[in-house]
Point group: D2
Chain length 365, copies 4
């Protein structure tokens, strides 16, 4: 199932070591300004380690709009985005041809499909998220036509280390001011040091991404099976390496009493607000006008540079040692991906709500 | 959006104080034995406080199959299930007509729909899950035709209290041996006492449901946007009062190193297994043949019997005091609901995988 | 696949000799006036031979709204409609248990499902259209909130007999002024006489339904695979006994030259119009503001009261003679059913277009 | 709506004068042999006038598989097909920028989208069917894994001229033996002459495509809203210039009596067959094992080289005269396109039926 969304539909395709990746976006309004420059910055933000490199790989991950745009505006036809893969050397994966890497998808793909593209994870690679990030940028362009919506994600924890971030004020600029994408500078330094330690130990480390959606009107989300938090949860758990999702008070909130947890209503600045936001901006699956705040857990990446025991296709126990330049912590790169998936969810909810409220509006006249 | 599933499609309808609730199930195989007796036990298990009551409300929540079954077997036509609501007294909700209960969906429904059925939560009520539980029983009946799949959920925490449960061996009978549905008898006693305390304090308390799916073959789940964990996450976050989902190592696993977290492969009992199961039975969105283990966070229920400040439709600050017999902890009743949603996810994945493998099988000949 | 529509989703269920039939409608705006009186007239119009009977079966086909309406208005929750089947005598179908009626769906249902509800056609019976007609009435109620859309169908031919109808002016009242539902009174008399002849001959006869949609704005329909004429074609070919669909000039138009067929544009009454309407109101899958005119072919009903040779489940050749009171011509009863399906298509297109234009509108500001 | 199919999902994109066209195919089994050589012949067959040209435009319409295939076999990931548009000269369309061509989609696209890509019809151009034909070839490859299905279409009428074709025996080779793609050589000669006359008169002419599906097992098709004839009808009416669809006896059959029309069952060659095939191979929406025979009406193409009156965006009456090399009859080129759409319908029905029967099969054990 490679299509996401019911009203705003994004279909993605492509493998890590295939010729290209892409996304087809269906459901966009016509007349919306769109060209590659709207999308490219999001892809640049997703690329690995770009901030550190003296010579950025400027040629990499160039998006091309192949359809759906005429004279700089969408036409209503599906927008097709394409990103060519660079010259990738698959030979270094040849030793994985018959061996399943622990906690990768090698074995399950083979169990499902009876057959496997063993080059670099193929469709299961995090490289697949190129398509999502590109589509997310288009979703944002659409949302901004009508709403001052902001989606900001950040690295909230690395291993056991945490930070302090105010979801009501944090900006993407705050997040991008360091390589680990944690807007708390002091914590960021600790995160970086920890990740360096882990790299030296040829190990990897997990963590949690925090994300906030601000400026969302009340009323978005489609009960019962299209609840906004449910769609967000699915979106986030569709990301490689993600293991959990929580919204508002989340797992910690299970330890509160109702009297502590309930968000009292008040009238503030002329509109209905809640005094606290343990609900995380959603009640009954519908946005309440407060910020939507959620967190996504990412496991330590499975690729480590220590010898590991595993099994090959012949059923023999073998020792596997991987080589290469994999990052020991995916969290910084997951930041724009989490944002992109949130944007796809919002674009879908937006179209549903527009259709509904457009008709309800007729009743008021 | 009141339909769940792409292959195995369940459409639910009904409000807490409307005449009835129901579910229409589309995609079932024909010839499957089905009558009300297959479904009724699941509904009985869902009903509130039945185990404690001296006189069980035996008349309540009787399911009727209105279509799709002939001479005790499914025909391939959609199965329509109907459960009549008893004579419900809506008058006690009349004071909520113009007042939004804190952390309920009253305000958001009104924001979305411009209008609200104020009787007992209506579509946002947990009563809506009657339809899900009924449909889940039908899904289980289908799954059992081909697979020895077991789905067992239990109350894993209440507030800050935990328990000890082995997901590999716990049974539904273990779970049902006490009213709080915790298979750890010692913990169950503590849970019950805690809930009683909370009730006396006119407060409510949250907790976590654990759930295991055993007997699932390797190969189920549809990358990229139909990953099994993503579908489970959406299913669980579509439940009233749920605030989080985690699979396998979940949030705690973010604190592990890759070398600690990776699940090594081995050949055990003649098939490929993992030595540990931090992946929670899924890798790359596809089941790996191990048990699928996940947890769902539920907030403390919003209905408490203490005065709360809120706002009415006129924008005035008012004090709200609710009356009635609401349970201070929904966790025990959420157990069969979590199981039902897991079953709906599995039934959908099962049909997708049957279609796929049916064709792949042709290649082997 | 028992759900119709992507935005305005109608799920139907029920068999001819089961306890009830129903429809669940998802996607309606909230606040729309709705009660049974909106729907019942459409069902009354659909019932067989009601105009002729001295004692109308007033008790039959009573629709009940089981969910989604509160105080006479839709709530945004799914609307569930239920129509109980009367006490039906299935025994007269017992002889069909093991015998396949020629040109009915008995054999194909058994080939597909390996098993068959043999009572009166079950899900394949035209009785299933009760659900469609009920849902169509709700769709019309929604469409009328914003648009002066009229859908009028009529019996255009019976066997080789035709009539003269002006699609720009014909009304439902014109159609209903006689039992054969042909607004051309002279032709209607010939139709009636012909049908009587056919009845006397224990035979059946086919014909064509004409249908016009007036008042449709320009711009509805979703290229490429959601073209308005494609959705109408599918809707009509989903009806029992239908064998063909044509729009505008249709099959006859294939014999024209382009110079004869093209609809020239002009400005008329201050807006862009076409001087002719061979396109049938749709160009490139999108409505052009002219009337949508289409025709649907219905075969002679398969139930005839002459002996027919067929095969039974044992593979033996047998002679089959049916008894009962089946109408020799379904065309008059198909009139409201064709209208209902057109309304479902329009409601779906309407929501899609509302969402799209709502966003495009933002660009103009 | 640019996705076709529910189980076998094809998403197409691209405009006539954009950089490329493509299709993304989701739902394919893994391990299926696939490379460009499977698809290219279908595209070659679709190209205009290739048989007549001394120097075929061999470079045109080259399909490239961009994803989903590894070492010559499908992987289960979506297959992405891409066809680059040649260097197209849009300047000749510049005069259409502000003028709506009669019976084209210029006006309706502008009415819908408020904005129009005026280059050669853009998304509404028949060039869009490149994507469909490419996807159809992949669908056929899948179907052939398990079933000896053959789909053969031919030009059945041109204007008022007809031909004689036996759907039980006609082959694609028969069809391709002449440029007008009519397997009746004598009729083909008349068709060619007629088309030449029409060309000389700077006019265009319509006609009917006949199509047969042979080798289809009994039991395919999903009642009620997924009936096989309904899906075929939608598929055909989604094609540019199509105005009608009929199956089996079609419109002519409406003039028969039931006693003439009914298809008697018999046991022939050891299986249940019908003695006649007025049903066109489908009863109750499900295939009955006989050949599926249908016809599609195509209007005379709107592009003619005579002056026509129309209106421009300023609302002025203007005379329009088109220049270029458009074919006066699209029928020959529509042949592979009709086949492609039939194949997409069959692939979708096949997966649905595989899932269903896989489970029903479990009941027999």
């Amino acid at each position: 199932m490679n299509t996401f969304g019911h009203w705003f539909r994004v279909t993605t395709w492509g493998e890590s070591h295939g010729p290209a990746l892409g996304a087809v976006i269906d459901g966009l309004p016509a007349g919306m300004p769109l060209d590659e420059s709207v999308i490219q910055p999001a892809l640049d933000r997703r690329r690995p380690g770009q901030s550190r490199l003296v010579t950025p790989r400027a040629e990499a991950d160039r998006v091309v709009i192949e359809a759906g745009v005429f004279e700089g505006r969408t036409t209503g036809a599906p927008v097709s985005l394409l990103v060519r893969n660079g010259d990738v050397d698959s030979s270094k994966y040849a030793n994985l041809k018959d061996t399943w890497r622990p906690s990768h998808a090698d074995y399950t793909y083979e169990a499902k499909y009876g057959f496997r593209d063993w080059r670099g994870g193929a469709r299961a690679s995090a490289r697949e998220t190129v398509s999502r990030v590109a589509a997310g940028a288009v979703a944002l362009q659409m949302l901004r036509l009508r709403y001052p919506i902001e989606v900001v994600a950040w690295v909230d924890t690395v291993g056991a280390l945490g930070c302090s971030v105010d979801p009501e004020t944090v900006t993407q600029a705050d997040v991008d001011q360091n390589d680990v994408r944690c807007p708390d500078a002091e914590a960021a330094a600790r995160f970086e040091e920890h990740i360096s330690d882990v790299r030296r130990q040829k190990d990897s480390v997990g963590g949690i991404i925090g994300c906030v959606i601000r400026g969302l009107p009340a009323g978005w989300g489609e009960p019962v099976f299209g609840k906004l938090e449910g769609e967000l949860a699915r979106a986030m758990l569709s990301l490689p390496a993600s293991k959990g999702f929580e919204i508002g008070s989340g797992f910690a909130g299970t330890q509160l009493r109702g009297s502590e947890h309930n968000d009292a209503f008040e009238v503030r600045d002329g509109r209905v607000r809640t005094t606290t936001n343990r609900s995380g901006g959603i009640q009954g699956g519908i946005s309440n006008g407060e910020s939507v705040v959620f967190r996504v857990a990412f496991k330590p990446v499975a690729t480590i540079f220590q010898p590991q025991e595993t099994v090959n296709r012949a059923g023999e126990t073998v020792s596997l040692e991987m080589k290469g330049r994999h990052d020991p912590c995916v969290l910084p790169r997951a930041v724009p991906i989490v944002e992109a998936m949130a944007l796809l969810v919002l674009a879908d909810a937006a179209l549903a709500q527009t259709a509904r409220s457009g008709w309800q509006g007729a009743l008021d006249n």
